[in-house]
C-alpha cells in the first residue's frame, strides 16, 4: 500500500424518481423553489377511499428505461428503484460495462416499507377471484421486500454485499448507514436507497389504520407539520437511490465526492409513542454527531422528520433542542417533504439527496405549505434560504417506533 486508505463513505451519485421530479435536476429545482405537488389521489380503485391527498409519481413511464423482461416480473416500487439506480450510477459514472471493476466490488442495499402492493393485489385478485392456477409465476419475486435489491443487483451485474432493511420510515437512513458500513468494511461502492409505491387500493386500505395518516382533502392543507393545523402526514411514492462509495475508490477513478456519510445512529422508543420519541431522537442525534466527530454548533441545517402530528412535532422540536442545545433554536430546519408527501422509507433518502444538493448549491430548500410555525424552531418556509451549509443532519422516525439520525459533511467541511 503506497498511501493510507481512505475508507470514508462518500456520496458520489444521486438518482431520483420523486413526485416532484423524475431526475435529480427537476427534483432539485422543484425542491428549492418550494413547489408542492401534493394532489388528489388519482390511482384507479382509490376513488372511494378516505385517503384523498397523496404524492403520486406522474409522468414516469417505466418502459422508457426498463427492459420489458424486467418490467413484467416487477412491481411499480421496483420500477422506481431500477430507474433511480440507473440515474445514480450514471451520475456517478459507475457500473459501466466497459470497466474492469470486479462485480463483487459493488453491492446493493435498499429499504422497503410497503413492498410490491399493486402486483400483490392483482395476484390476490386472481387467486381469490379465479383460482390458484391463475396466480402468475412472478408473484413470488415481485411482492416481497427484497425485490428491488435483487433486481438492481441482477440487472446491473453487482455481486457485492446485498441487503434489504424492511422497515418503517427511519429504515431509509439505516439503509444508507448500512451501505456506509459495508464500504468501511471494504466494499468499493453500494447502490443504496429506497423507493416505495404504497398507493394501490389495498395498500391504501392497509394504511388507513395509521392514526397519523392525514385524511384532509385539500392538498394545500393536508400536510402541515409544526403548525397548529397539523393533521397528519400525506403518503407518497417514488424515492431515491444514491451511490455510496469509498473515498479512495472514488478518487482513484476520478469521481467527484459530493458529501460524506459521516455519522449515523438509530434508536427505538415504541410504536406511535411520540412523546417518548423525544428522548430517542435526541439520543440518535447525539450518537450520530459523536460518530461524525461533529460538535452541535457545526450543524448548518436540519432536515426534519416532520410527521405532522402535534405530539410528534413537539417531540422533534424538543429533541433538536435537547441534542443541539441553544444552537437547536438557531439552526435552520427544513422539511421539503411537505411538498412531495412522505414516501415511507424513501422519505429520508430523498431528504438526504436534498441535503447533498443543498450543500452543493448553497441553498436551503423551504417547507412548502407551512406558514405559522408553532414550535421554537427556525423552520425555513416560503423561499429557499441562501447559505453555505457544510454539515447537514437528516432525521427520520417511523410509525413502528424507530428513530434515526444521519450526519452528512460537504467535502469542504473541516
Amino acid at each position: 500500500m503506497s498511501e493510507p486508505q481512505d475508507r470514508r463513505a462518500a456520496v458520489t451519485g444521486i438518482g431520483v424518481v420523486a413526485p416532484n421530479g423524475i431526475s435529480t435536476d427537476t427534483f432539485w429545482k422543484a425542491t428549492h423553489e418550494g413547489l408542492s405537488v401534493l394532489d388528489r389521489v388519482t390511482r384507479e380503485g382509490c376513488e372511494r377511499l378516505p385517503l384523498k391527498v397523496a404524492g403520486e409519481v406522474r409522468a414516469f413511464d417505466a418502459a422508457d428505461t426498463i427492459e420489458e423482461r424486467f418490467l413484467v416480473q416487477t412491481d411499480r416500487f421496483t420500477h422506481y428503484a431500477m430507474a433511480a439506480a440507473d440515474f445514480a450510477l450514471t451520475d456517478a459514472r459507475l457500473g459501466q460495462a466497459d470497466t474492469d471493476q470486479s462485480p463483487y466490488s459493488i453491492g446493493v442495499v435498499t429499504a422497503a416499507g410497503s413492498g410490491g402492493g399493486e402486483f400483490g393485489q392483482r395476484e390476490l385478485q386472481r387467486l381469490w377471484g379465479k383460482g390458484s392456477r391463475f396466480v402468475g409465476p412472478y408473484q413470488s419475486i415481485a411482492w416481497f421486500y427484497a425485490a428491488s435489491t435483487g433486481q438492481v443487483s441482477i440487472r446491473r451485474g453487482f455481486k457485492g454485499p446485498c441487503s434489504v432493511v424492511a422497515s418503517d420510515e427511519a429504515g431509509g437512513l439505516d439503509a444508507l448507514a448500512h451501505a456506509a458500513r459495508a464500504v468501511r468494511r471494504g466494499t468499493d461502492a453500494i447502490v443504496a436507497g429506497s423507493t416505495e409505491a404504497p398507493l394501490a387500493p389495498y395498500s391504501v386500505v392497509c394504511q388507513l389504520g395509521y392514526e397519523e395518516l392525514s385524511r384532509e382533502g385539500e392538498p394545500g392543507r393536508a400536510y402541515r407539520p409544526f403548525t397548529k393545523d397539523a393533521c397528519g402526514f400525506v403518503p407518497a411514492e417514488g424515492g431515491a437511490m444514491l451511490v455510496v462509495e469509498a473515498a479512495d475508490a472514488a478518487r482513484e477513478r476520478g469521481a467527484d465526492i459530493r458529501a460524506y456519510v459521516a455519522g449515523h445512529a438509530a434508536t427505538f422508543t415504541g410504536a406511535s409513542r411520540w412523546a417518548e420519541s423525544r428522548a430517542g431522537l435526541a439520543q440518535a442525534i447525539r450518537q450520530a454527531l459523536a460518530e461524525a466527530e461533529c460538535a452541535p454548533e457545526e450543524v448548518d441545517v436540519v432536515f426534519a422528520d416532520a410527521l405532522g402530528v402535534p405530539a410528534a412535532d413537539r417531540a422533534e422540536a424538543l429533541a433538536i433542542a435537547d441534542a443541539l442545545g441553544a444552537h437547536g433554536t438557531r439552526v435552520p430546519v427544513t422539511a421539503p417533504k411537505t411538498g412531495t408527501g412522505r414516501g415511507y422509507c424513501a422519505a429520508p433518502v430523498l431528504d438526504t439527496a436534498a441535503a447533498v444538493l443543498a450543500m452543493e448549491h448553497g441553498l436551503i430548500p423551504p417547507t412548502p405549505n407551512v406558514h405559522d410555525v408553532c414550535h421554537d424552531l427556525d423552520l425555513v418556509t416560503g423561499r429557499a434560504r441562501v447559505g453555505e451549509p457544510r454539515t447537514a443532519l437528516v432525521l427520520s422516525r417511523g410509525l413502528m417506533g424507530s428513530n434515526s439520525a444521519l450526519v452528512l459533511r460537504h467535502p469542504s467541511a473541516r
Binding site: W128, I141, F144, V205, T267, F268
Partner: protein
C-alpha cells in the same frame, strides 16, 4: 481491538418442536414434521403439504390481547424471544436500554393477515376498488414489515437500533449477521436476533406452485422433503421462528454467562444472475463461505459441520454442493453436511435463524443432525449428507449457508469458545 460476539441464549418455535429441547429431540431422532396442510383447504393446490407448528399462544405465555394484536409470525418471535432471553440469564431491566438492539428477519411478514383481510375487503377477489370498511383493526400492523421487530423490542425493553432484515430465504442468516455487526462494531452490547415467518397461506403456497418450486408429493408428506436425494421434487413449506441472544463477549464473561459459542464470521453476496435461478458453479456462495472463514481466521479444514441450505430442489442442491466443494476443497468430502429442512421444512425467512439454533445445539450436544429421507444418491451431489441418523462428532467450528430468491448467498460461522 475487535469486539468478539458470543451467543448466550437460544429460543425456538419450529414444526414438531416448540422450545429447544423438543426441537433438538426432533433433529436428533431424524423425525419429520411435514404433513398435509390443515390450516385451510388446500385442494386447489399442486403442493398440499407443509410443516405446520402445533402452536397455542396461550400455552406459551401470550395472553388473548397479545395474541390478537400480534400476527402468528410475530407470536413465534415473541415466544422464541422469551425462551432465548430466559436462557441467556440476562436481567434486561438492569441493562442500559440504549445498548440493547433487535434484529429480526422475515421474508413475507404479515402476508397471512394481509391475505385474510384482502378477501374481506375485495368481496372474495371480486373488486379492485376494495371496500375499506370491511378491514379489521391491526391490518396496518400486518402491512408494516417492521412490526415484528417493534413488538420484540417493546417486549424486552430494547431502545438501541431495532432492525428488520428481509432478504427472502436468507433473511434469517442476514438478520443474525446484521446483529453480529451491530454488536461487533459497538452499536450495542446485546442484540436479540432472529427471524420468523408463517407463510402457510393460499397466496404464498400458490405463488410457489406457479413456479413448481414446492414438492407435489402429497401422498407421502412425511417423506416429501428429500434434500440431496436423487428423487427430490421440491421444497416443503414450513413455518416457525428462532431467536439468538448475541452479546459482546466481555459483557457475557463479566456476568458469568454461559457462552454457547462465538460468532466467527458472516458474509453475503449477490449472484447477479437470476431472481430464482442458481448457477451450477456456486461461485458467489463459495465466496461468502471463504469471506466468513477469513473473518473467523479459520482455515477451510477447520470446518467440522456444514448446515446446508438444502431446500430439496435439484438446482439448489447441486449449486450448494459445488459451492461447498469450491470453498472447502478436498476437506468438503470429509465434512458432514446436512439439511434440517428434511425435517422442519423451509420456513422462508425464518429458516436461517432456525438453522443457526440447530448449529448452536449441534455444538452444544457435539452431534450432527441428519438429513432425513435421504435414500438415493444424486451423482452430482457426492458429499456426506448424514443420511437419516444423527451422528456424534467432535465439533468446534460449524458453517451455515443460505441461498435466496433475489440471488442472495450468505454464510455464517459459529465456533466453540476459545480459551
Amino acid at each position: 481491538m475487535t469486539r468478539r460476539v458470543a451467543v448466550t441464549g437460544i429460543g425456538i418455535v419450529a414444526p414438531g418442536g416448540i422450545g429447544t429441547p423438543a426441537f433438538w429431540d426432533l433433529l436428533a431422532h431424524g423425525r419429520t414434521a411435514t404433513r398435509g396442510i390443515t390450516f385451510f383447504d388446500p385442494s386447489q393446490l399442486r403442493s398440499r403439504i407443509a410443516a405446520e407448528c402445533d402452536f397455542d399462544p396461550a400455552a406459551h405465555g401470550l395472553d388473548a390481547e397479545q395474541a390478537e394484536r400480534a400476527d402468528r409470525y410475530i407470536q413465534f418471535a415473541l415466544v422464541a424471544g422469551d425462551e432465548a432471553v430466559r436462557d441467556s440469564g440476562l436481567d434486561l431491566a438492569r441493562e442500559d436500554p440504549w445498548r440493547i438492539a433487535v434484529s429480526v428477519g422475515t421474508a413475507v411478514g404479515g402476508t397471512t393477515r394481509l391475505e385474510n383481510d384482502y378477501v374481506l375487503v375485495s368481496h372474495g377477489g371480486e373488486r379492485w376498488d376494495v371496500d375499506h370498511e370491511r378491514a379489521r383493526p391491526q391490518l396496518h400492523r400486518a402491512f408494516s414489515p417492521s412490526t415484528a421487530a417493534s413488538a420484540v423490542a417493546e417486549r424486552f425493553g430494547a431502545q438501541g437500533p431495532v432492525q428488520t432484515v428481509s432478504t427472502g430465504c436468507t433473511s434469517g442468516l442476514d438478520a443474525v449477521g446484521y446483529a453480529f455487526h451491530t454488536v461487533q462494531e459497538g452499536r450495542a452490547d446485546i442484540c436479540i436476533a432472529g427471524a420468523s415467518d408463517s407463510p402457510i397461506s393460499p397466496i404464498t403456497m400458490a405463488c410457489f406452485d406457479a413456479i413448481k418450486a414446492t414438492s407435489p408429493n402429497n401422498d407421502d408428506p412425511a417423506h416429501a422433503s428429500k434434500p440431496f436425494d436423487n428423487n427430490r421434487d421440491g421444497f416443503v413449506m414450513g413455518e416457525g421462528g428462532a431467536v439468538l441472544v448475541l452479546e459482546e463477549l466481555e459483557h457475557a464473561r463479566a456476568r458469568g454467562a454461559h457462552v454457547y459459542c462465538e460468532f466467527g464470521g458472516y458474509a453475503t453476496f449477490g449472484n447477479a444472475y437470476h431472481m430464482t435461478g442458481l448457477t451450477k458453479e456456486g461461485l458467489e456462495m463459495a465466496r461468502a463461505i471463504s469471506t466468513a472463514l477469513d473473518q473467523a481466521r479459520l482455515d477451510p479444514t477447520a470446518i467440522d459441520y456444514v448446515n446446508a441450505h438444502g431446500s430439496g430442489t435439484r438446482q439448489n442442491d447441486r449449486h450448494e454442493t459445488a459451492a461447498v466443494k469450491r470453498a472447502l476443497g478436498q476437506h468438503a468430502y470429509d465434512t458432514p453436511m446436512s439439511s434440517i429442512k428434511s425435517m422442519v421444512g423451509h420456513s422462508l425467512g425464518a429458516i436461517g435463524a432456525i438453522e443457526l439454533v440447530a448449529c448452536v445445539l449441534a455444538l452444544a450436544e457435539q452431534a450432527v443432525p441428519p438429513t432425513a429421507n435421504y435414500e438415493t444418491p444424486d451423482p452430482e451431489c457426492d458429499l456426506d449428507y448424514v443420511p437419516r441418523t444423527a451422528r456424534e462428532r467432535k465439533l468446534t467450528s460449524v458453517l451455515s449457508v443460505g441461498s435466496g430468491f433475489g440471488g442472495f448467498q450468505s454464510a455464517v460461522i459459529l465456533t466453540r469458545p476459545r480459551e
